[in-house]
Symmetry: C2
């Protein structure tokens, strides 16, 4: 048995380091790093680092897909990606010496044919037979119907496999109606879904749309979760500073692990907040600082909300 993550729009993530980014100038890149990317693959890597067996599926194709799979091969997640004729997208993140956010360029994904989608759903059904839980992560590449995540939620539930959904926009709106076990929107995604900016109202609104539980991430303010067992806020006792890339994926990984292990909600949220913060503290994007994680586990405040759920 393993945890399955789905990345329909997997990417080859490329990072360029330049001294200073100047629009309309030419830059000599001093350092090029490539890694397999896309939210579901990131979640699987974090879960593998925590000791869970993981399987990744979704689509990979073309030269970028080949490199992505070559880079994935020596890593712990098992590669069950489905070939696609068109090329997987690349993302280019330009890091400059300013210490601020990266400048990011995201290619569009490959056009997926109906035959390729049918091949994927066949692989997905087979993988569900051995899955403890499944995470559906990230954007949909072109050619895939907007109700795809709703379909994948229903197929997972038909196999009694719980589902975490982490996406945005219309795919989230449609997917949430199929009653996933958990959605993990950030503040913007939550506002886009519910029209509400006030956190509690927005989280309760998202739950009413169908999600059995909602754990929304508010950056340094931590998580606000609405579940059948109650509503909780969880946050580090002091804010952490660093690179937030991958913090959301780490939260999904911890929530998924907590779901599989049947951990009570307050403890799940503590783990998710600690792992997120330990990811912000790690020097490399998307990795977490294991020592900081252990330390932060005892340094997260969880408060039960007393308003009626």
């Amino acid at each position: 048995m393993a945890i399955l993550t789905v990345t329909l729009n997997a990417a080859l993530d490329i990072t360029y380091r330049v001294p200073v980014l100047t629009p309309r100038a030419s830059h000599r890149v001093s350092d090029v790093v490539e890694r397999p990317g896309g939210k579901g693959i990131n979640v699987a890597r974090v879960l593998a680092a925590l000791g869970y067996d993981t399987v990744v599926t979704g689509f990979a194709g073309g030269p970028a897909g080949t490199v992505l799979r070559q880079l994935l091969a020596p890593l712990a997640p098992y590669d069950a990606l489905v070939p696609v004729a068109r090329t997987s997208r690349r993302t280019v993140a330009v890091v400059d010496g300013s210490g601020g956010d990266t400048t990011q360029f995201n290619e569009p994904g490959p056009l997926v044919s109906p035959e390729e989608w049918a091949r994927f759903t066949g692989v997905y059904e087979a993988l569900l037979k051995d899955a403890d839980a499944v995470a559906l992560c990230g954007s949909l590449p072109p050619g895939i119907h907007v109700g795809a995540y709703a379909e994948l939620v229903r197929r997972a539930h038909a196999h009694d496999v719980p589902v975490v959904l982490d996406t945005d926009g219309e795919p989230l709106r449609r997917g949430i109606a199929a009653r996933p076990d958990l959605v993990k929107p950030n503040a913007d995604e939550l506002a886009g879904l519910t029209g509400a900016r006030e956190p509690l109202r927005a989280v309760l609104g998202a739950r009413r749309r169908g999600a059995r539980a909602v754990a929304a991430s508010f950056g340094a303010d931590g998580l606000l979760a609405a579940t059948a067992d109650g509503v909780w806020r969880a946050a580090p006792s002091a804010p952490v500073r660093g690179n937030p890339t991958g913090a959301g994926d780490s939260a999904v990984a911890a929530l998924l692990a907590g779901l599989v292990d049947g951990v009570p909600w307050p403890e799940r949220l503590v783990r998710a907040v600690a792992l997120s913060a330990a990811t912000v503290l790690a020097p490399a994007a998307g990795e977490f600082d294991a020592a900081a994680y252990e330390r932060l586990l005892t340094d997260v405040t969880v408060v039960r909300h007393t308003e009626p759920n």
Copy 2:
């Protein structure tokens, strides 16, 4: 017989289109175009479009090299690139809606081993046997000795093949001492080589360093050439506006064609200025507008310089 171009640091050129480039923001790329790149490959494509048989050599390797060769295969230049273990560089040009210059990111080239350099020189020697002329273009990838172009100039002359050298910095300084038949620096490269900013002084200084002829490009001001036959200035009668990418490579192509055809210098310069301007006028970077080229051929002013050469 054919014209040979050498691109030791061949590249996969990637162009991204974004509405507005904002440092430290995330950009959805609307359009991705890939083409085989590097100065020598660009020169060969222009020569092929003019009807010349062309052969390209240099190094290509890794996933970027594979894509580069796949994109080169259906084009006219004959692919005699030499495989290299490390991956060829990519260049990313970000075009935004501003209509200004692109924002350019250039990866470092692949580290070339001494064995790979030896394999290349063997291929180069074999190709020289059927070459009318050779162009040595662009930067040197890591691992290749800085006197590489001087070595390639001498090897070509041992086969009685004339050489055009288009590079920069120390490789130009070393290469020019081996007496190439022509160098084509731009204003910055010429100033870097000679320390002189005054065009005539700089061009004559470059010639004294060893080049049999110097044709320096000064953007919209056209070319200034110092040759054994005299000194000429050539410029379009009215400046042209457009995308200057590839204009220098088109000038090299025209000068190389004129050399092979034994065209007198004033006519060579007219062709080079007209082809450069027709490249600036073409909507796609590195292509030239054939009708504009024909028209511009009658619209370039050549003035013989009367000062002592």
